[in-house]
Amino acid sequence: MQNKYNLEGPQGTKPRKRLSGTNIMLYGTLLVVAFYYLLPLYVMVTTSLKGMPEIRAGNIFDLPVDITFEPWVKAWSTACTGLNCDGLSRGFWNSVSILVPSVALSIAIASVNGYALANWKFKGSEVFFTILIFGAFIPYQVMLYPIVILLREVGLMGSLWGLVVVHTIFGMPILTLLFRNYFTSLPDELFKAARVDGAGFWGIYFQVMLPMSLPIFVVAMIIQVTGIWNDFLFGVIYTKPDIYPMTVQLNNIVNSVQGVKEYNVNMAATLLTGLVPLIIYFASGKLFVRGIAAGAVKG
């Protein structure tokens, strides 16, 4: 044994077994887990790239032999519901035109609510907030029908704006909570300083709070975009076929069977519908995680 100081026994870096039993177990388990979670995505993608004969002959785990994009084209632009054969594309644009105002409106309202609750408490504000949070847990079914009546009374039933209002209402508890917690976590002294500097309710909101809150707005946006995009129940009840969002359109296309069930088209349609939230998810990375953790942990 050669060393500078002629020491005997263990010295220096402790040798590590790369392939220790624990590590094999650990990574083995993770591999199995990753497989389970990825499997459906793999099946969706491969099925959507196969032709129907190949699907009938082979099994769902085989890679496609003849890759065809036909199902994607069909799902996007020609699949039929009744006489409307414009595929999911219509639902896509409907979803977009529902999404944009809903996200903007719900975030605008919830952020101001959260700000008022955090910094401008008034008599009863906590009571309303408690009701609001409690409302997040009321099953939607309880409120479904009365809301039809409410929307009728304000003349918004079946319109795009009706659905926007519904999304704003049901997004409000979680978003208000998110913003309230965030604004509460900001140093109180900042708010005091701004008041000494003569800024009012809106002045502080726009000039002091907003510029500091970009991350939380992004988080709220992620929550809302995925939530609203994925909505099915409100879309089916509060709109009409013209403005059905993509999830409803997807369910329609999959359930409008003409002749044979075209699994490849269905899977392509399913993937297309899932694409927007998936892209948001993969692009936003940590913020997404932060968003759902923030929305959830302080529930």
Binding site: P187, E189, L190, K192, A193, A194, R195, V196, D197, G198, A199, G203, Q207, V208, P211, M212
Partner: protein, 363 residues
Amino acid sequence: MTSTSSVSIKHLDLSFGAVEVLKDLNLEIANGEFLVLLGASGCGKSTLLNCIAGLLDVTGGQIHIKGENVTWAEPSERGIGMVFQSYALYPQMSVEGNLSFGLKNAKLPKDEIKKRVQRAAEVLQMEDLLKRKPAALSGGQRQRVAIGRALVRDVDVFLFDEPLSNLDAKLRADLRVEIKRLHQQLHNTMIYVTHDQVEAMTLADRIAIMKDGLIQQLASPSEIYNKPANKYVADFIGSPSMNFFLGAVNTDGAPTFETAGQTIPLTGYEFVSSPAAGNAWMGIRPEHIVVGEAAEASDFKIDTSVEIVEPMGSDTVVWCEVMGERIRIRIDGQSSVEPGDTLRIGFDAARLSLFEKTTESRI
């Protein structure tokens, strides 16, 4: 209302629900005075400051600033500037933006804003920092900007809410001097909240010591140190804190204090009123107990055995037991005392503080 008062607080009450935080508080602060509100956390000192600033709504009483009743006025209308512990700089604005935000809200003309920002930057020696964001500043620089933000408002009353507590010891000492210099330069009224007695002693013209929403004593630093109004103030001010003995004042003949079989003559003690017999606390500060030759010359002397020695460089704190109490004695840092040594100590009656046993107020 006196015309010399800058800030005057009358019968102020504040309660949060059932919790009374401030109770019938009265305080007159003279023009150009540096007043420190001192107390342990939760004593109501910051609350009082927030009330003066208008950041908290009072439950009862009045607040006057510069002769005007501002009890219901908005913070920005009160002619105050405020500096916070956490600096509270707007993180997304440059230093210049931070300084000018309040002025813009007040809709001052552009060139006036520029002039004032420039002047504040000069006073605080931060001309070259104007374009930076707060994140790019050190703690000391940030607090200077925060002071600057109060400065540009050109106000008569400055409110400081523990402005140095977030800084490390050395910076704190530097900035303390700077605030003192600023006060000497500007002659504004300053109300300064802290829990640090060194800051209070060094900065204040007067100190208000608060406990449980009440002012315990409002006096100059030296009076507070030498003649604490009650046992709480006596205990709170001074480090290490005062030693106390429980005993009784005897007025048969020359007044004496008797405890643990010892009789301490009180001949040199300045009683608040004529001495009365009864149970009382006797307090003596560690630095007022002398040893060695000086002890021999004292009004009262006694032998004691050293238990623990804490050398601190400039001086040494010695712990020993005297008359049934464990006490601290501050002696010169160069003296060589070892645990187990016998030490002769003594003190003068003039240096003592006596407090009535139940009310704990000075007698």
